[in-house]
Chain length 220, copies 2
């Protein structure tokens, strides 16, 4: 499949590399086509990898992944272009973390709204699915690096779009029972709100190589 | 030890019953001494159990547990009385959930502040420790009901107070390695912020008998 990734940071490059390894064609997009991180990634990641602007990546992708900084995501998506997102599955991996205040980042959007919903409102033609935003990117693409089962979540208003994302997660190594569909896109308020706890656990453990497992009395 | 519990809801009564079973003397406090739930609990829980006003319970306790609704906690603590809290370990189990807006409750305090910090500011003489607020009360007092290890958190500015709370948690059946000290009281912003996700998982699973396990690449 052709994948457009918005964002050339750790998350975008890590997901891009994994998707190329899985046989997809991937275009990484950033503010300018001359972005060095995007170009270097494309050279290293092989023949199925390319880079360009946000609009290049969004136009290229049959599925588009938002891996930009959450506080800049709406701007990035506007640069990507509404027409390039229309009808497409848009996987929102971002968190609206504001690190400008000192101390651990706070959520610029939350509680009564979510970044995913803000994106969906701004781009009603996109089929937004919130996924993978609750963990470090190394775990996203290699869930089996952790020595136990653990969970990831799906939020979205489009059942078919969630199926597509679930298929991608399965191809990354996530087990069927590890993927919890929480319901409509408003449930992204829940998954985005885990970041303040994630950041504190990261603060005491010094490693992002962890994730949460929901241990239930019913199923284990 | 003498324990004062503020709040006669499920959380207060469940913790009270467990503490009585463990040999503590427990007084449950509410707005009025004639509170029926408090009186009924005291009759059923045995000779070491009693009930009274918030002030009665706080004066009685060597350790005080705030198990009131988070949005009413500051009022309840004012009724308990600053002098009755001074110098005492105050375990804040509450969450400032506002259910008045329809839909899943939202956090009335969060992101740049926490209920625990608001309580500490209002009662600087109390030794506030945030604990146990991330789960259903049935799991708080019976962690071994879940078929796997899972985690609970401590936040507080007073190391000795956290030791006292850790001892209580150990007596409930929590294992040493399941109790994660996140640091000072501001880290309660992290644990309180898990509620929006907790509520969505509860929404799809229909059971509160679950908790989060931090699965780490280092320790498992």
């Amino acid at each position: 499949m052709r994948m457009g990734i918005l964002g050339t940071g750790d998350v975008g490059r890590t997901l891009g590399t994994k998707l190329v390894e899985l046989g997809h064609e991937v275009r990484l997009g950033s503010r300018t086509a001359a972005n060095e991180k995007g170009q270097a990634w494309a050279r290293e990641a092989g023949a199925r990898a390319s880079s360009g602007t946000f609009a290049d990546a969004a136009a290229f992708g049959e599925v588009v992944l938002n891996c930009t900084l959450g506080v800049a995501s709406l701007d990035a998506l506007r640069a990507a272009g509404e027409a390039n997102l229309a009808g497409k599955v848009l996987v929102d991996v971002a968190n609206a973390l504001d690190a400008s205040k000192g101390g651990p980042p706070i959520l610029a959007i939350g509680n009564t709204d979510s970044l995913a919903e803000a994106i969906q409102r701004a781009f009603p033609g996109a089929r937004v699915v919130k996924a993978l935003n609750t963990m470090w990117c190394g775990v996203m693409v290699n869930p089996r690096m952790l020595p136990d089962s653990h969970h990831t979540y799906l939020s979205g208003n489009d059942a078919e779009a969630k199926k597509v994302v679930k298929g991608l997660l399965r191809s990354f190594g996530w087990r069927e029972e590890e993927i919890l569909d929480l319901g409509d896109l408003s449930t992204a308020r829940g998954t985005e709100s885990i970041l303040p706890l994630w950041l504190r656990i990261y603060g005491v453990s010094g490693s992002g190589a962890f994730n949460f497992k929901v241990v239930s009395a019913k199923a284990g």
